[in-house]
Symmetry: C2
C-alpha cells in the first residue's frame, strides 16, 4: 500500500553581505520570526555570508528546525545554509572549479567560494537528497563575461546531482541559479538530471506574475538593472524529482510579493519561494552495519582534524601578528622620515636607499602576510567544514547504533547471522 508524505520546502537568497546589505540584522530578525512560525520542513538559504547570522538563525529556529548545517568554503564561505525539521544524516559540499576572478573584487563572487551543498535527510522513511546552491551572478545580460563560468558551474552542478543522487528516493534542489528558465545552464541542468521545476509543475500558484523572484516592486532593487525585463526575472528555483519507487507532486507553490505586511521592507532583494510537495512511496527496507567500530574511527579522524584546526588557527594568528608588526614598522619609518620634512631644513636622517629598501621590505611583509592570512582562512574553513561533517556523521551513526540490537542488552538480541554476504567493514580488522 502506498504511503503519502507532505514536504514544505522554502528557498531564499538572504542578501546578507555584512555592512553592505541594507537593514541586514532587521531582515534576519524578520526571516527568523517568519520561519519559526511557518511549518517548513526544509529551509534552504543562500547568501548567508556571515556565520554570525547563521548562528543567530540557528538559535531562533532551535525549536522549529532543530537540525541545520552551514557550508564552509573559500575565503568568506559559500553562504549556503540548510535548516530542517528532520534529522540531517550526512552532508557533502562540492566547490565549483570556476567562479569568477579574484581581481574583480567589486563583484566579489570569487571570494565567496561558490558551491553546491548536499544534505541527506530522512523524510518519513525515504532517503531525500537535498541540494542548495548559488551560481555566479550575471552582471550584464548583453556582455556576460562570466557566461562560460556559469555554464561550467551548471555542468558541474548537474554532474554532482546525477552522480550523488543514485541512492536517493527523492531529490530536491533549491537556490539562486542566476539564470532565466530558458538559459542554457538551466536547460542543461533540467534535461540532464530530469529535475522538474516546481513553478511549472504546481497545481496551484500564488505569487508574482510568471513566478519572477527578482521584481521591480522590491524596494531594494535598482529598477534600471532589470532592463530589458521591466517587471522582473525568475532566477530562483525549487526543483525536484522522484524515482521509480517514489512519485512526487507539487500541490502548491507561492512566492513573496515584495513588501511584507506589518514591516517597512521586504525579507531580501530576492523573493522567497515555498513549494508544497507530496511524496507517494512504499516503505523501504533497512540494512545493518558494524557501526561501533566506524564511530570510533570517525571520532579519531575528528580529533586529528581538530589538532590541524588548532595548528592553522595558531599559524593564522602568528601571520596576523607579523603583518601588524610590518605595518607598525612602516608607520614608524614614515614617521621618522616625516619629522624632518615637517621641521623644514632639518637634515633627512635616513639615507635614501635604506629608506626605499626598508619600505620595500615592509610592503613585502604586508603582502606576504596578507596572502598567507587569506590562505590560512581558507584552510580553517575547510578544516571546520570537515569537522562539522564528521560531528554530524558521528551523531547519526550513534543514533543508528542506539537502534541496533547489540546496544540494547535488555531486548532480545538479534545478532546478524555470521557470514551473511560481504561485510561493509574491512575483514582484516
Amino acid at each position: 500500500m502506498p504511503y503519502c508524505v507532505g514536504v514544505r520546502v522554502f528557498s531564499l537568497n538572504c542578501w546578507g553581505i555584512p555592512y553592505l546589505s541594507k537593514h541586514c540584522s532587521q531582515r534576519y530578525q524578520m526571516i527568523g520570526e517568519m520561519l519559526s512560525k511557518n511549518e517548513h520542513d526544509i529551509v534552504l538559504l543562500q547568501e548567508v555570508w556571515s556565520e554570525k547570522d547563521y548562528l543567530y538563525l540557528k538559535k531562533q529556529l532551535s525549536n522549529s528546525h532543530p537540525y541545520s548545517h552551514y557550508y564552509k568554503s573559500g575565503v568568506i564561505g559559500s553562504g549556503l545554509a540548510i535548516f530542517s525539521k528532520h534529522r540531517i544524516y550526512d552532508t557533502f559540499l562540492y566547490r565549483y572549479s570556476l567562479n569568477g576572478y579574484p581581481y574583480m573584487a567589486h563583484h566579489g563572487d570569487w571570494f565567496g567560494g561558490k558551491a553546491v551543498g548536499m544534505a541527506v535527510v530522512n523524510l518519513g522513511g525515504l532517503t531525500a537528497n537535498i541540494y542548495v546552491t548559488h551560481l555566479h551572478a550575471e552582471y550584464s545580460r548583453e556582455k556576460d563575461t562570466y557566461l562560460a563560468h556559469r555554464v561550467v558551474q551548471a555542468w558541474e552542478l548537474q554532474e554532482f546531482i546525477r552522480h550523488t543522487s543514485a541512492g536517493a528516493d527523492v531529490v530536491i534542489l533549491g537556490g539562486d541559479l542566476n539564470m532565466h528558465p530558458e538559459d542554457l545552464g538551466c536547460r542543461l541542468l533540467r534535461s540532464y538530471t530530469g529535475l522538474r521545476d516546481s513553478y511549472l509543475e504546481t497545481a496551484k500558484f500564488d505569487g508574482c506574475e510568471n513566478g519572477i523572484t527578482l521584481i521591480a516592486d522590491n524596494t531594494f532593487i535598482n529598477k534600471k538593472e532589470l532592463i530589458p525585463f521591466e517587471t522582473g526575472i525568475r532566477i530562483d528555483y525549487i526543483l525536484f524529482k522522484g524515482t521509480s519507487k517514489t512519485h512526487i507532486y507539487c500541490d502548491f507553490m507561492s512566492t513573496t510579493k515584495g513588501s511584507v505586511p506589518d514591516h517597512p521592507f521586504p525579507y531580501s532583494d530576492h523573493e522567497a519561494l515555498t513549494a508544497q510537495l507530496r511524496l507517494k512511496f512504499n516503505i523501504p527496507a533497512e540494512t545493518g552495519r558494524k557501526l561501533a567500530e566506524l564511530v570510533d574511527i570517525v571520532t579519531e579522524a575528528r580529533t586529528e582534524v581538530k589538532v590541524g584546526l588548532h595548528c592553522a588557527e595558531r599559524m593564522r594568528y602568528t601571520t596576523a601578528r607579523t603583518g601588524v608588526m610590518g605595518l607598525a614598522l612602516l608607520f614608524l619609518e614614515l614617521a621618522i622620515a616625516a619629522v624632518p620634512c615637517l621641521a623644514l631644513g632639518a637634515e633627512q636622517p635616513f639615507p635614501c636607499a635604506s629608506f626605499y629598501l626598508l619600505a620595500a621590505l615592509c610592503f613585502s611583509i604586508l603582502l606576504t602576510t596578507s596572502l598567507l592570512y587569506v590562505f590560512y582562512t581558507m584552510e580553517l574553513k575547510s578544516l571546520q567544514g570537515a569537522e562539522d561533517q564528521m560531528r554530524l556523521a558521528v551523531a547519526s551513526l550513534q543514533e543508528k547504533l542506539r537502534g541496533f540490537p547489540v546496544a540494547r542488552p535488555h531486548h532480545t538480541l538479534q545478532r546478524p547471522s555470521e557470514g551473511e554476504g560481504p561485510s561493509a567493514l574491512d575483514p582484516e580488522e
Copy 2:
C-alpha cells in the same frame, strides 16, 4: 542465471615530474610498451604531471586502450589519468579542499591540485564506477605536519565515493593513498565505504613481501627515507566492492619487484599493481531517454565553454606579454644604472628616488602578472576539464542515440509508449 566477467586492473604512480624525475621519457616508453602488451581492462595512473606524457601514452595505447581521460585541476594538474579497453561513459572530478601549503613549494603538493577522478565504465552490461586518486605525501612519519590535511582528504574521498557510487554495480579504486594499511585515513576509507583491499582479498599473490609498493630494492628510492621501515611500505592500493546485485572476487594480484627484465631501471619509484577481479551478476535492464535534445544542449554548452576557453587563453597571453615587458623594463633600468657603475666616476643618470620607484613598479608588474598567469592557468585547466567531460558525454549520448530505435528507421520502430512515468526531460520544452 549468473554471468561472469573478468576484469584486470592496473595502478601505478608514474613519478612523472618533468625535468626532475630521472629517466622520465625512457620510463614512459617502458610503461607504454608494457601496457600495450598486457591485457589490462583498466589502467589507473598517478603523477602523470605533464599532459605531453599523457598524450604520448594515449598514442601508444590507442590500439590496446582506445578510451582514456586525463583529469585537469589546480595549477599543474591532478596528475591522474585513466586508460580503458571499455568505453568511458562519464567522468567527474572532485578536488580536495585541503592539499598542503603553497609556500611549501619544495613539497609541491599544493600546486598539483590533488583530486579524485571518477570514470563510469560499462563492464559487460554492468555499471562500474572507477576511481583514481593520489593523496598528499607523508614527508615525515614522526612529525607529519600534513596529517590533518591527509585525514580530510581521506574523509572527502570516502564521502565522494559513497555519495557517487549508489547507482553503480561495481566500485574500483586505485591509487597512491600515501598511507599505510592501518593508518587512520585508510581505515576511515575502508570502513565507511565498505571497499575491500585486493592485497588482503586475493586468492593468489605474486609480488613483494607484505605487498609493499615503495621498496628498498628500487634504484630510484633513497633507502634512508624509508627508515624505520627498512624493506619498504605499502601505500598503493587497488580496492573494490560489489553490490547486492554483483559479487566481486580477487583471483590474483601481483606487484612489480623493483627491476624490470631487459631494462636498466624500474618503471617508477613506486611498484605497479595488477589485480585480476571476477564479477558475478545478473544482466540488468536498460531505460531510454529523450537523447537527441540532450545532445544539442550539451553541444551548445560545450561551445560556450570553448568561447570562455579562447577568452582565458587570450587573457593569459596578454598577461604573459605584460609580464615580459615588465621584466624587460627592469633589465633596461638595471642596464642604464649599471653603465655608470662600470665606467667608474661617471655621474649616475638616475635620481635615486626614481630608480627605486621604477624598480618597485617593475616588481609589482611582475608579481601581479605572475599571480594572474597562475590564475588564468587554473581557469584554463578547469575550462578544459569541463570541455573534455562534455565531449565525452556527447560521444556517449550519441552512441546511445544510435542504439535508440527512432534513429534506425530501417528497423521496426519501438517507440516508447507515451506517458510512461515521469520524463527525464523538462516537460515544458
